[in-house]
Structures are given as C-alpha cells and as structure tokens.
C-alpha cells in the first residue's frame, strides 16, 4: 500500500503518522502542500497539528490550499482519505465531510485518553473497550439537525465518546462521508500505536489502522 501524508505549515503529527503507517508496512510519502503530485496513492492522510496557526477558523486556510484541489480529485476517483484532528477540521472546511468543529464548550484544550464507542466498521468486539488520546481545542462537532439525521441514517458515525468531553453533538468523535471513503476523527490513533506510548500498554492505535486497512482493501 502507498500512502501520502499531506504536510502544511503548522502540521505537527505528520512524523508520528508516517511512523505508524510505516510500521504497518505502508510505503509513505510526505507531500508538502505546495507540491504538484503525479503519483497515485492508495490512501491520503491529513495529519493533526495547527495548520496556518489555526488562523481564521481551524483548518480553514489549509482547506483552500492547492493540494486540497488535488485531494478532491483523488476523492472523486475513489481514493480513501483519513484526516486526524486538524486533518478532520480541514476535511469539514473543504466540504469533503459535513459539519464543523467548534471550540470545546469548556474553552480549554483537552489532552487526555478517551473511551470511545466504535460503530460501523469499528463495531467489532475488539472495540468494546477502546481508548486512545485526544488533544484539541476545537473538537466540538457541530452540524444541523438534518445533517445529524443523515449521518445516523447512513451509518456515517464511526466513533463516539462514551462521555461528553467537548460538547460534540451526540458525542461524535469520528465520521465518514456517504461514500464511506473519507474518514475524519478527532482522537489520535497514531499516538497510541506503540505499546510503550500507550498508558495501558495495549496499542489500541494499531487496531484502528488494521481495521481501516482491512476495510479500504476490501
């Protein structure tokens, strides 16, 4: 599998994500946002961080960059996309995912391990007790009632928090688009990839990538 990790000024989880993907046997290419890309990829990843300093709205400036036009073309061709944290914000700002990520209702940056409920492709018993970290100030998922109904009706919610941590509607932590190819989530699986980096020595993050890869390969 070949994956691109898109890097913006202010991305800061790109190296962790590259490492996790490489450990999974993926051939990873970091792609600078200003680059023109001719290669074909099996997966496009947009990492976490603070692209363009989170100015205006988090993810808004990155979502208008040249590379995102390319990402939209890839999506039209059916290439899967994964956006983590700021990557999720960039995907909603670019219109590839519905909704928006607002300031946490507490107005505080939250950096904790959270318990998640998995749905859809993440609903197996492996995800019955699932815990990976979040680290965000703007993770409060908002959408209209109509959009929320559509997300539920189409099984587009794949992670929800066990408890309300940031004010997200229906405790939503991760959604996929209608084509089930564009994934966005606030928690960081790449930060719980190694047993040594996981407080409970489990490597729950690896399980996320294994499940995702099995799904997009099938």
């Amino acid at each position: 599998m070949k994956a691109a990790v898109i890097v913006f000024p202010g991305s800061n989880c790109d190296k962790d994500l590259q490492y996790a993907l490489q450990q999974m046997g993926v051939q990873v290419t970091p792609v600078w946002h200003g680059d023109t890309v001719a290669d074909k990829y099996d997966l496009i990843c947009i990492p976490g961080g603070f692209s363009y300093g989170d100015y205006l709205r988090s993810g808004s400036l990155a979502s208008r960059s040249k590379i995102m036009e390319q990402v939209k073309d890839w999506v039209k061709q059916g290439v899967p996309v994964l956006g983590i944290c700021n990557g999720f914000q960039i995907l909603t700002e670019s219109g590839l995912l519905p909704g928006a990520l607002l300031k946490n209702k507490t107005l505080k940056h939250i950096c904790v391990d959270v318990d998640l409920k998995g749905h859809g492709i993440f609903s197996s018993s492996d995800f019955a007790s699932y815990r990976i970290p979040v680290s965000h100030s703007e993770g409060n998922f908002y959408c209209s009632n109509e959009e929320l109904d559509a997300l539920k009706a189409n099984d587009q919610i794949f992670f929800s928090y066990h408890e309300d941590i940031n004010g997200s509607r229906d405790n939503i932590a991760g959604i996929v688009d209608k084509t089930k190819k564009v994934f966005g989530l606030m928690p960081h699986p790449e930060r719980a990839f190694l047993k040594t980096a996981d407080r409970e020595r489990r490597s729950d993050g690896r399980l996320f990538f294994e499940t995702l890869f099995n799904n997009i390969a099938s």
Partner: protein, 81 residues
C-alpha cells in the same frame, strides 16, 4: 477605485457560543442584572478594487464565500465603509 469593506462574522443563533458564556460568568453583580446574551464574533476589514459600490459588494461577497466564513456555523454581514 478602492473600497473598504467591513465583514462581521457571527456564530448562528443555533450554535452555542462559549466565549460569550464565559464572559457572562465573570460579570459582577453590577452588570449581571443589566447584561445578558453576550455573543462573541469577529470583524475582518479589507480593501477591494472595483468600478462601483455594487461591484465592490459583489467582489466582497465572493471573497466571503471563498474563505471568510463557514455557513455551517456562521453568518456574515458585509458593508462598504
């Protein structure tokens, strides 16, 4: 000619605005009785080159749609100043 535009961006009424709520929480009793429904937005000013005021407004509106606000959660008001 150059027109100066002021864009006022606010959260939609249906969106909880935590900064305004935080401000209300710290109000002293003097203000608590007379101040309510505080909501924080943002203002952006810029110039646009246009042949007339209506053309300036059109250009400003297209720039606003491009990046200035997110219609999922915000509204925008544009005025020539």
């Amino acid at each position: 000619m150059q027109y100066k535009i002021r864009a006022t961006i606010r959260y939609k009424a249906s969106v909880l605005e935590p900064q305004g709520q935080a401000i209300e929480k710290i109000l002293s009793s003097e203000f608590k009785s007379v101040i309510s429904s505080v909501r924080v937005g943002r203002e952006v000013e810029f110039f646009t080159e246009a042949g007339s005021e209506s053309e300036a407004k059109d250009k400003a509106a297209s720039f606003a749609d491009y990046v200035l606000y997110n219609p999922v959660m915000e509204t925008i008001e544009l005025e020539v100043v």
